[in-house]
């Protein structure tokens, strides 16, 4: 069977659903398909907690949001993209309000905003501390009224179909039946989210395996700024469950083993009882995670069976604030850590959280490969530069989901139907999946073994601090692991809902993506934002005020080139917090 649509979206989270609605509204005659490996409302947008930034207060301005974002990103953000993003974020958030999102409110009924890390003004819209959950469900439920949007729920995309220099759809497995078939399209938008699962300790759901990045990369599109992986400073030990930055925005303190607010020792400001914007606990995530390592080296963290931790203290906020502003934090702590933040401190450590890099796109979400678009965490526009600010990712997926949707709709309207060549390609892909994986009986490697080795390699070499020799060793090791991932032997040779087959394909995607991260990190001989090289501790604007672009060579290795950063009005300067 062959299915065909005007636009196919891969991924049904926030970006995918926003794009789907944008297409349906731009041109109701277009047929849109959302292809997702999980039901859309299970997508990882659901886990976002703290909020979504958009300027709405009289004391705030678009320029200030731009500056916070650009300085937060250590000047690696493209400033034209940031300006477009900051301008469109409030209207996108407002649109979501009109679609029913239950934003938290002021007493008079206006939208409420809260402070957030690295933001100089209060501009973070929130729905208690389940912002992503409410945004996703509002988007999903709203999408149900658009009849033009077809859904392929629980279909796993294995390949992009490229012919005549343009992307013309995908090959996907329907999990329920095991059927493998092409879904053709005049335009394809990747909205598959991040790749946190390449690391062992991450806030990311198990589905965050970099699928879209690997799909694009294999199809010939470059990946941009893949060396920039964000560690969030406050994850629960063992599970890696995120304790939102909103906990600090509401006034939480980070304390070392002596009960001391250690951030004051690292040029992040002076401790005050009430939170001060762009200071101390409201500093940016990269700095706070790096400072944790310094504190650990001084022996001032607390040892636990799951590694060193510090304490996040919310007790002084009181029961009312915790229950109304941070109910999910309390629920997660009670359920998973068996502690009550009203009475006890929360043990936390830095945890892999967000990929700043991704598929290279322009500010309309278009990749260099005609017919291919990307939006959300899978994409790199780039507004986040070397370090994303908390509460910028949710508006990003709305702004650029909508932009990519509109651009893809326009492109699809002018294209002819996909040709027979891609149907033949799809048949080759089907054969590969069946012969090399599903029916293979001589595979020797076990998924969990290769995955654990990959994650260990990444944590040891590409964590908060990196070094040239460590990265070079990791690059070799990942080359071996890629070979091993190709020789996976499955226990499960059946068709019906074969989750082991999916896991094997995800592992191959992850190893591919891990190689681009290490390859890009090795070449960037400077320290900027989330990329810290102990052998090159300074930022080097002479050589590296540039995006890395990683392309896949024929032998599977990655080739790195650089693309200048777009600077409009904010020349590179020092990042200053707390002074």
């Amino acid at each position: 069977m062959v299915a065909s649509h005007d636009v196919v979206l891969v991924g049904g989270g926030g970006a995918g659903l926003r794009a789907a609605i944008a297409i349906a509204e731009a041109n109701p005659r277009l047929s849109v398909a959302v292809v997702s490996k999980v039901y859309p409302m299970r997508s990882h947008t659901v886990s976002a907690e703290g909020g979504a930034a958009g300027v709405i207060r009289a004391d705030d301005s678009l320029d200030e949001h731009c500056y916070d974002t650009i300085s937060g990103g250590d000047w690696l953000s493209d400033q034209d993209a940031v300006e477009a993003f900051v301008k469109e974020a409030p209207e996108e958030l407002l649109r979501l309000e009109h679609w029913g999102c239950p934003w938290s409110r002021e007493p008079d009924g206006r939208i409420g905003v809260r402070p957030f890390g690295g933001m100089k003004k209060m501009r973070t819209w929130y729905a208690a501390d389940k912002t992503g959950f409410h945004m996703l469900h509002a988007l999903f439920q709203t999408s149900l009224k658009y009849r033009a949007v077809a859904r392929y729920d629980e279909w796993f995309v294995t390949k992009l179909l490229v012919d005549d220099g343009r992307v013309q759809g995908v090959v996907a497995i329907e999990l329920r039946s095991g059927r493998i078939q092409p879904i053709l399209a005049k335009a394809t938008i990747l909205c598959t989210g991040g790749c946190g699962r390449v690391f062992p300790f991450t806030t990311n759901a198990t589905i965050k395996t970099g699928d879209g990045m690997a799909l694009a990369y294999r199809a010939g599109a470059p990946l941009k700024d893949m060396e920039f992986m964000q560690y969030h400073p406050t994850g629960l030990p063992f599970t890696g469950i995120l304790i939102t930055e909103a906990a600090r925005a509401e006034g939480g303190w980070l304390l070392n083993k002596d009960g001391y607010r250690y951030l004051q020792d690292y040029d992040l400001g002076k401790p005050t009882p009430k939170p001060v914007l762009r200071s101390m606990e409201l500093g940016p995530r990269d700095r706070l995670s790096q400072v944790f390592v310094k504190e650990m080296e001084k022996g001032r963290t607390i040892d636990t069976p799951y590694g060193p931790v510090v304490n996040l203290d919310l007790r002084h906020l009181g029961e009312r604030v915790i229950n109304t502003k941070l109910p999910f934090v309390r629920e997660l702590c009670l359920k998973y850590q068996n502690i009550d933040p009203i009475k006890e401190m929360i043990p936390v450590r830095p945890v892999v959280h967000y990929m700043m890099g991704g598929v290279h796109t322009d500010i309309h979400g278009a990749t260099p490969l005609p017919g291919l678009y990307a939006a959300g965490e899978v994409a790199c526009v780039s507004i986040n530069g070397a370090n994303r600010l908390g509460s910028n990712s949710l508006p990003e997926l709305l702004v650029f989901g909508a932009r990519a949707g509109r651009a893809a709709a326009e492109y699809a309207s002018s294209q002819k139907e996909p040709g027979p060549a891609v149907v033949a390609q799809a048949e080759d892909e089907r054969r590969r999946l069946v012969h090399d994986l599903l029916q293979r009986t001589d595979g020797r490697e076990r998924i969990a073994t290769v995955r654990d080795a990959m994650q260990k390699t990444m944590e040891e070499s590409a964590g908060i601090y990196r070094s040239g020799p460590g990265l070079a060793k990791a690059a070799d090791r990942l080359g071996e692991l890629e070979e091993q991932a190709r020789r996976i032997g499955l226990d499960d040779h059946s068709r019906t809902f074969n989750t082991e087959l999916v896991t094997a394909l995800e592992l191959q995607f992850m190893v591919e993506v891990a190689r681009t991260m290490v390859g890009s990190a090795l070449k960037r001989e400077e320290s900027r934002g989330a990329h810290q090289r102990i052998d090159f501790p300074k930022r080097d604007d002479q050589r590296f005020l540039a995006h890395s672009l990683c392309r896949r060579a024929a032998d599977g290795s990655c080739r790195i080139e650089y693309l200048p950063v777009t600077i409009t009005r904010w020349p590179p300067g020092e990042r200053v917090y707390g002074r």
Binding site: V38, S47, H98, L144, T239, I447, A448, S494, T496, F497
Partner: protein, 247 residues
């Protein structure tokens, strides 16, 4: 020395087996392991053929609902040690067709969700330029609880009415219809009424309240159903007394 616990998991592979059966696995019973960690241990190290759904493992994506020792549970939020010394039984959610192992077919819910029009309905859209619809914290509280549904299907699994009558629109879909009916920005209650009152399922709900008991997010679908019945009954009375009221 880590204690171990036996997990008996329902297996069903339609290509091979006519009937579901149980397979027992022994897994470490660590203090901080949830049932999902036990299943992942089986999948990674003992038997790659076991299939189940999971994603966020923090109780918000709604994927990993299963029947554990007879009760519907989110397996990412239920600790193995609570079932020591075992054995414990893990089965698919009840009242749904089984696709494979512990994976059930929820198409029926997805259709019912669409049917109740779970989106904001307005007679006239306010232009974005005019800003937000004002909504006070008290107005938000009116429906907030019903907006917390993660569609995990535990309530359908527990619902005796749905078990007997699959036409019943069911706890989560009614709660979500009420979530919009009670939203001060919404004007679609009458449209949803046509769906909710069409089938008598809603009247056959007997208020056993199993749905509310098993809900991991305290949505209280039973309360939503109760409230709907009251407002619907009130509406019928008003229609009788005031037939000129616009439909």
């Amino acid at each position: 020395m880590v204690d171990r616990i036996t997990v008996e998991v329902a297996r069903y592979r339609p290509e091979k087996e006519a009937e579901p059966s149980f397979q027992a696995y022994e897994v470490p019973c660590r203090k901080d392991w949830v049932i999902l960690d036990g299943l992942n241990h089986i999948k990674d190290h003992l038997d790659g053929t076991l299939s189940y759904r999971w994603s966020c493992r923090m109780g918000v994506c709604g994927s990993c609902g299963m029947t554990v020792n007879g009760e519907p549970k989110l397996t990412c939020a239920t600790f193995l040690a609570d079932y020591a010394p075992g054995p414990l039984r893990v089965e698919p959610l009840r009242n749904f067709p089984i696709i494979r192992d512990v994976i059930v077919d929820i198409d029926d819910f997805m259709q019912k969700l669409s049917a109740v029009k779970p989106w904001l309905i307005r007679d006239a859209e306010k232009p974005l330029a005019e800003g937000e619809y004002r909504q006070t914290p008290a107005q938000l509280d009116e429906y907030k609880q019903f907006s917390m549904c993660i569609n995990c299907m535990l309530c359908y699994s527990a619902c005796p009415v749905y078990g007997l009558d699959p036409e019943f629109i069911g706890p989560a879909a009614i709660a979500l219809a009420q979530r919009y009916n009670l939203d001060s920005r919404d004007q679609g209650a009458r449209q949803r009424d046509e769906v909710l009152s069409k089938h008598e399922g809603i009247w056959s709900c007997t208020f056993v309240g199993e749905c509310t008991k098993v809900c991991p997010k305290h949505v209280d679908p039973a309360g939503a159903i109760q409230r709907y019945k009251l407002s619907s009954a009130m509406g019928s009375v008003k229609d009788f007394l005031m037939p000129w009221r616009g439909k």
